[in-house]
Symmetry: C2
Subunit: 320 residues, 2 copies
């Protein structure tokens, strides 16, 4: 952990560093803090997989697998750069397909994490904070922030949902009171398993191409949201990680994880980005759970806890 | 089972029935024979899921799940029809994206089966035989046959691979000596998990848009190939279904099934067809295994049986 002196020094340094370098540093700090906290809860140690390609960037994947609390936990950071050519499509950039871009240099930095606990009462969670620049480094034609935090329980506990959304609403409201309602709805729209007409979980927030107003204010929001992740998730994990469960409940969790795989492989923008550009790789598929199940025509009985979860996946609710 | 009289009657009837009706009958007969044979091996009973939509067709899905020999076995037949509009894209039809089609009525009939046994020594197998018409029923502008049969072992037994490919080569050679070499190569190309640079298994045959020459001769080939499926697969299943295995081998099977899921959701033409047109549904996802696993950066040790399988998935071999 950095000493107080180092933090002060770094904050002073930040004043003169360009935004991209500061976000790059922010995502690394977030990775460090989140992994340290998760190691404390789990008792295990993350394995590090650094990567570096001179022509396209580098990063560090940290994975905790088949450990005490987590079936699979992955926390990735990366800085990637290159030239964006228009035949890569705009949708991977979160832009409409109508827009046509000239070939431009791009830079992206971000942290992406996904945690799949063993206990079916403890929800899966995903978070991602990223910053993108298109154009020359000194004077980018376009820049934006993106991010998402969403919760995917196999069993619904209203208290957990209220706590999770409550923390997200509070952090959003501190910066802009329009953020939470907009980003909550955007999240419900984005994490939709279209062919099943259900969301993959109970949502959270999602935003992309965020560049309205002052970059400093947006940086502050994203830093605040990244900081809030642990307080949104850890109390839920602590409550649920040792709760008793049955084999049937464990199986339902695996079925829900099958739905997670469907979303990530069929609809996720990051996966499609990888497929269309530099090729998918193990790192991008880190989000896939250790175990998943596809039971044919598996429909929970009405009135069960499993059916109650499906109900909120089908019709998102307001929790905060 | 139909009596001999009925068969004779049917054969006479066939002379006057249009091709589409005869293929539709062929795929139903194939489903019946395959399911009966599998029930005998497994001891379980297929569950039937008929479906029918006046505006788009109907079919019958038959599924055997978590049974004695099979973790999941599904055999689907369907007749679907509608209007093909050009914005659905041509690639789902197996045509180049360059071609542009006017809106035309289409009809498709086919059988599709996928068998995932419990025992990791017993390979997964997939087969599909289909017939497509584009244009008016009485005089279609285009018609073709398509099909594929491919084997996906978790452990490679050279004898099994030679037997499987041997049966396929024999049935191809009876009709056209160019078929097996072409369709074997096509299969290796099609069932490729591009981002992993590996095939999903050891291949078999794949063909699409087959309409060269006489439709009667092609019908005879497809009927013969459908008939040969059981003799290609059953002897292998019988040899392997009760072979002893370890927990580690069972886990490797689940990892390979994760790769199967990747192929089916990211690259399979049928899945993309469903996504782009009528929407994916449970039936189209029947091919997904009951269990799958994603272990991060799981690389088998050189020289192991697991590595030997990967070698042939990376560099396809000639088996017949």
């Amino acid at each position: 952990m950095p000493t107080l002196d180092l933090i002060t020094e770094r904050d002073e340094l930040n004043q003169v560093l360009p935004l991209r370098a500061r976000v790059s540093e922010l995502v690394r700090r977030t990775q460090e803090e989140v992994c340290a906290a998760l190691e404390q809860v789990d008792g295990g140690t993350f394995q590090d997989y650094p990567w570096s390609q001179p022509s396209s960037g580098g990063g560090l994947s940290r994975v905790l697998q088949d450990s005490r609390v987590f079936e699979k936990a992955g926390v990735n950071v990366s800085d990637v750069f290159g030239h964006w050519s228009s035949d890569l499509g705009q949708s991977a950039l979160g832009l409409g397909d109508g827009a046509s871009l000239p070939e431009l240099p791009f830079f992206a930095t971000g942290v992406s994490l996904i945690l799949h606990p063993h206990n079916p009462m403890a929800p899966t969670v995903h978070a991602n904070y990223r910053y993108f620049e298109l154009g020359e480094a000194a004077q980018p034609h376009a820049w934006w922030f993106g991010g998402s935090v969403d919760l995917t329980p196999a069993y619904l506990f209203d208290d957990d949902a209220r706590h999770f959304h409550g923390v997200l609403r509070k952090v959003c409201d501190r910066h802009d009171r329009s953020f939470y309602p907009r980003f909550k709805r955007w999240c419900d729209e984005y994490f939709c398993i279209v062919h099943r007409k259900e969301r993959r979980g109970i949502g959270g927030i999602f935003f992309d191409r965020l560049n309205e107003g002052n970059p400093e204010a947006l940086y502050a929001f994203v830093a605040d949201a990244a900081q809030a992740f642990l307080s949104a998730y850890l109390p839920i994990l602590e409550r649920r990680k040792d709760q008793p469960f049955t084999a049937a409940q464990k199986e339902w969790q695996a079925v829900r994880r099958g739905r997670y795989v469907e979303f990530n492989l069929l609809y996720d923008r990051g996966t499609q980005f990888g497929l269309k550009t530099i090729g998918l790789n193990e790192r991008m598929l880190m989000s896939l759970p250790l175990t998943a199940r596809w039971r044919y025509e598996y429909q929970p009985e009405p009135g069960t806890e499993e059916a109650r979860l499906l109900d909120v996946c089908r019709v998102p609710r307001d929790w905060a």
